[in-house]
């Protein structure tokens, strides 16, 4: 197959960091190519060079066989290269039609906008990937999966030859991922190459023709998916082999820490009963809208249940607020850490210690800064958060490290019951393994953990029992040791 893009011996350094160390990389016309690697491996830098946001220090770039001096943002667009960033770059206040057409309208440079033309451009782009969206809908009102299609349509309004999707599936529910992947295949049918950057290994295998693995600023391998399996890929990415141990619950007779009976809340969930023993990790899975997150929010008092009974350590407790939940020893690490879990502009230290400030009081009842700092450092070390200084704002950390900070924040309050909602969404393989390892460690020390997850495989490998929710009710319970991920998935997706 013909080459579209060739990079030769690309070097790029930032202050003190050699981000790309002489990378060679080729991309064929119309191929689906995946770029994987841990955070900081250089894949983001590579994308920025291809998309013209960054200029390489040295090396050569060829587009369709022609050498190009360097790629500037405008020049890359002119060569048919478009990037869709994780945040999608859409305008929530504008309609679907205008969001799709705006780049093309700007390109044409007319001062007066022809609204019929705007609709025509949008319709044409949608027709190319066989989607049919309401042109007049405001984009901010649409679900994230549909917004992604709008972003792809916008890219299609130009003479597109290479579409780069940066972590396109990180925030997508499962059904939307399927939809996206079929659109990607559709693009390929039009001869458009797609360069995918993803953390999720299983999706990559589903669509890629070639997979390129990066590690420490170098390209370590480019292989077709049939020459790779999960373990090999992880080994290439990390340079180590991951010991995949399955969680084993040591003490089936341990005391019951949490007992829930007949918990209900209208339009949220109904008649939920479950038990957690000390040291046990129980998985909770189900589609978005099955009520699993709503159940967690009720147990943590954010939106309390209307009826039913909750017992902690055998004693009935009323959970009507977060304060009640924390007093009962329940901690919750939310699904969307950015919204619910962290104050992004505050320091790692401030975030980690936010739940326990009342225990760090010094003289005069004021918070003792030395004790606060000491506690933050302790947790940073315990969880292996990769940060040089606890005073840096959380928003400067990678996704995996942010997740560790949220976990640290709640663990600092030493809870008896820990509810983790999607703890490994959007983090890379090694950070994921580290989080799993850590959660098991907590269980080994007697904490009861409720692990809410989208990934059946994660539940199977890391829990003792798996509860499946569907349409607001618990529809099944499986023993993780004997369950297969496929079985769990069938139960999750069974028609009700």
């Amino acid at each position: 197959m013909e080459e579209f893009l060739r990079l030769e011996k690309i070097h790029k350094s930032f202050v003190g960091v050699h981000a790309l160390k002489g990378v060679d990389f080729t991309l064929r016309k119309g191929e689906i190519h995946c770029l994987v690697g841990e955070n900081g491996c250089g894949k983001s830098t590579l994308i920025k060079i291809i998309s013209g946001v960054l200029q390489p220090d040295s090396g050569r770039i060829f587009v369709e066989g022609q050498p190009v001096a360097s790629l500037g943002s405008a020049a890359t667009m002119a060569r048919g290269i478009q990037v869709i960033y994780q945040d999608l770059s859409l305008f929530p206040n504008l309609t679907v039609a205008e969001n799709i057409a705006i780049a093309e309208v700007k390109e044409r440079g007319a001062g007066v906008v022809d609204w019929d033309e705007v609709r025509r451009i949008a319709q044409e782009a949608m027709a190319r990937i066989h989607v049919d969206l309401d042109l007049d809908a405001e984009v901010g009102e649409l679900p994230i999966g549909v917004q992604q299609l709008v972003a792809i349509c916008r890219a299609l309004t130009s003479d597109l030859k290479l579409l780069i999707l940066d972590e396109p599936t990180a925030s997508l529910p499962k059904r939307d991922i399927e939809n996206l992947l079929s659109v990607v295949r559709d693009l390929q049918a039009h001869g458009i190459a797609v360069l995918f950057v993803s953390h999720k290994l299983n999706e990559i295998f589903a669509v890629a023709e070639r997979i390129t693995v990066f590690r420490d600023g170098e390209r370590v391998a480019t292989l077709p998916p049939n020459e790779l399996d999960d373990d090999r890929l992880v080994a290439l990415m990390t340079g180590r082999t991951l010991a995949r141990k399955v969680f084993a619950f040591a003490d089936a007779g341990a005391r019951k820490v949490l007992q829930v009976r007949g918990l209900s809340k209208r339009n949220h969930f109904a008649d939920v009963s479950l038990e957690l023993r000390a040291g046990e990790i129980v998985g909770l899975t189900g589609l978005i809208g099955s009520g699993r997150t709503e159940l967690a929010l009720a147990l943590f008092g954010i939106s309390p249940a209307e009826s039913g009974e909750i017992r902690v350590e055998g004693k009935p407790v009323q959970i009507r607020s977060v304060k009640d939940a924390v007093a009962a020893g329940i901690a919750y690490v939310p699904e969307n850490r950015l919204v619910q879990g962290l104050v992004m502009k505050h320091s790692v230290e401030a975030n980690v210690t936010a739940t326990v400030l009342d225990r760090l009081l010094g003289r005069l009842g004021l918070v003792d800064p030395a004790r606060k700092q000491a506690l933050a450092r302790e947790w940073i070390k315990a969880l292996g958060v990769n940060v040089s200084d606890p005073a840096v704002p959380v928003q400067t950390l990678s996704g995996g490290n942010q997740q560790k900070v949220v976990i640290a924040k709640w663990l600092a309050a030493s809870p008896r019951i820990l509810i983790l909602d999607g703890p490994t969404v959007g983090v890379d393989v090694m950070a994921k393994a580290a989080i799993h390892e850590y959660v098991r460690g907590l269980a080994a020390r007697g904490m009861a953990v409720l692990l809410i997850t989208d990934e059946e495989a994660e539940a199977v490998a890391n829990t003792n029992r798996i509860l499946v929710m569907r349409a607001g009710r618990i529809r099944g319970e499986m023993v993780a040791a004997t369950a297969e991920a496929e079985q769990v998935q069938q139960l999750v997706e069974a028609p009700s």
Partner: protein, 343 residues
């Protein structure tokens, strides 16, 4: 049947628009005031309050555009208008000239002061409201430093002629002529201009794009500096025009008469459907907002109600607009929580 459905669909479409509700509110309020005092719905009275709110109406268009762009209101526009009004009054007394020259000079001065705001917002990334609070004090403070707050009781007669130009004029029983003021037409012209810019030009759409997602607009290569300077320059320009309109109506300069009207204008704009977080708003909505406030003000006077209620209303409108926008945003985030629980 089909016709009825089509009409129904059209009605539902109309009711989604903030402007429709405002228009209904205006009709209802007007009817109520007329029942209490029939003098309200007379040509003379309506033409009168349409003239008196033309300055606020002209400013509102500029304020709307900056609010859409930056999600934070400009508050310096009254100080700009005040400075321009004083300078134009003094300069025309000194050198004469004609009304077109006066308008052009006023617009140019206004643009200059607006551009200063725009440049600071662009290069120093400071929120509009902070920058304009600062420049408000600079502009207004300088005016007092130079003039010592001296009133101007006599202005050039051309402002009298301009301000009293009437269309479709009639003569009242006591011999005074009344009719549709040219000032009202200047306001309507401004609204049309605002509608055209916001709806039809790429520059206007860029204002919406930046207001909706600044980072995305920059990535797309939208001319950030040009768009910002345009919006802030336009507020300045319209403040200059509004100053001449005000001078022509009042025919005197009290150097602190325009400042203090910021909230009234901003309230009218948000009542017209502009989001206090930016990215949303229409010129028609802003005009209807101004009109509703003018009717309210006039109605309170006709009904002998204390005019302080007018200030209370402005405060209530701003509070409701802000909490409503915030509430919608919150509701939006929570929309996900709705599980169809099986019976």
């Amino acid at each position: 049947m089909r016709a009825a459905e089509a009409v129904g669909g059209m009605l539902r479409g109309l009711l989604r628009h903030n402007e429709t509700w405002l228009a209904i509110l205006i009709v209802v309020l007007s009817a109520a005031i007329t029942i209490a005092n029939p003098a309200f719905l007379t040509y003379e009275n309506v033409a009168g309050f349409l003239k008196s709110c033309s300055m606020v109406g002209i400013m509102a268009v500029g304020v709307l555009i900056v609010l859409i762009l930056s999600g934070s209101p400009d508050v310096s526009f009254t100080a700009i208008a005040q400075v321009v009004e004083y300078a134009v009054a003094v300069a025309t007394l000194q050198w004469g000239g004609n009304i077109y020259l006066a308008l052009a000079a006023a617009a140019a001065m206004g643009v200059l002061m607006g551009l200063v705001n725009g440049a600071i917002v662009h290069w120093f990334r400071v929120p509009t409201i902070i920058v304009t609070i600062a420049t408000f004090n600079i502009y207004f403070g300088m005016l007092y430093v130079i003039t010592h707050g001296k009133l101007i009781n006599l202005v050039h007669p051309m402002f009298h002629d301009f301000g009293n130009t009437l269309l479709f004029s009639r003569v009242s029983s006591i011999g005074a002529s009344y009719g549709l003021s040219l000032m009202t037409l200047v306001w309507l012209g401004t609204v049309l201009l605002g509608w055209f810019i916001l709806r039809k030009t790429f520059l206007g759409r860029s204002v919406f794009a930046i207001g909706g997602n600044e980072v995305a607009a920059e990535r797309l290569g939208i001319a950030m500096l040009r768009t910002r300077l345009f919006a802030f320059g336009l507020v300045g320009l319209l403040s200059g025009v509004a100053a001449v309109v005000h001078l022509s109506i009042v025919q005197a300069v009290v150097p602190n008469i325009i400042v203090g009207k910021e909230l009234e204008v901003i309230a009218a704009v948000v009542l017209g459907g502009a989001s206090v977080f930016g990215g949303k708003g229409t010129a028609l909505g802003a005009a209807l907002g101004v009109l509703l406030f003018a009717i309210l003000n006039n109605g309170l006077t006709l009904l002998n109600v204390s005019s302080y209620w007018y200030n209370v209303t402005i405060g209530v409108v701003i509070t409701v607009a802000i909490t409503n926008s915030a509430y919608q945003a919150l509701r939006h985030r929570r929309a996900r929580v709705h599980v169809k629980v099986e019976p």
